[in-house]
Symmetry: C2
Subunit: 181 residues, 2 copies
Amino acid sequence: MSLPHALLTALLERPCSGSELAGRFDRSIGFFWQATHQQIYRELKRLEELGWITALEPEAGRGRKRAYQVLPAGREELRRWTGEAQEPKPLRDELMVRLRAEAVIGPTDLVRDIESRLAQHLEKLALYQEIERRDFPDGGVTRQRELQHLVLQAGVMAETLWVDFCRKAIAVLSEADVATH
Amino acid sequence: MSLPHALLTALLERPCSGSELAGRFDRSIGFFWQATHQQIYRELKRLEELGWITALEPEAGRGRKRAYQVLPAGREELRRWTGEAQEPKPLRDELMVRLRAEAVIGPTDLVRDIESRLAQHLEKLALYQEIERRDFPDGGVTRQRELQHLVLQAGVMAETLWVDFCRKAIAVLSEADVATH
DNA sequence: CAGCTCATGTAACTGGTTACATGATTGA
DNA sequence: TCAATCATGTAACCAGTTACATGAGCTG
């Protein structure tokens, strides 16, 4: 249940409205946690009811922008949750299911799809490295910057892994194709 | 929507009952796709209604073991799905949300949790490497074995990444702790 | 035949997704 | 002033999770 805490974090970094949050979830925060605007509005309402956030200008509803800020109770809840133990989620990837299916039913078009994934991961890797070069030329200086850098590095590491794996998979699938024909 | 296709793959590898499938989802298949027995039974019923699988012995219900095998229509569906294009799912990890929260609200107990995660990832990595040593001493020989090996390697790569990342995170969090006190 | 375990199954709930609706603001 | 766009919101749905129930078969 990370969404409420991702929202608290985002609102602490800078108070803003639901639509702005949706925008931020398409960029920085969205690199490691995604949310649609429907989820965000639903959750903001809940957080307000819980007394963890409050609207800055108590003006009314539909169509009018409504910015929120975090209340002390929200900050306290975020602190509690951040230090809480969590089990690491096991790997869960559709591509692995497909590879295992290929192993059973023989050659399919899967290799085409992996080539296209490779291109996308290369693109994302380049994006992250560009951001890293621009925003963290000397790593992080303050504690906050170091932690932000760390999260970005996780993205770089993950995309690098995917690039490596896609190349390996393409090699295996192509080689096997040749041997089969 | 991988579960039906994971089940088709498992049943092609070896026809079996729901409870046996649940067991297999705790081991090999479960390393990259998890499912509870409730999900499995629900899905098996659906697959049978779709005409993709059929019970081997048409004996009745509750309490009696019911083994299934894949029908030609099921195999065809699996082939179709395997070659289908899929967008790579973006990284989505609670730990990144927590790190970002730490960056905003200052030191918490997070580093303890990461130390415990590190131990778990090391354990899983050792398990995967043990399986690799035992089952793939010379890599894969046939196409099928090579693909199975590839999937296992993905597990090794992912756990290695997590081990590296946890160590990096512990370094940053500890160092920052010292600087803060 | 009592009690245990195995195998199958039901029900309620949660987080996330998709499709659609409506009020407010802006600018040609 | 009206069409486009922005901001907020409702509803239905889907995959996955948790808790619990019940029939079948085995063992002491």
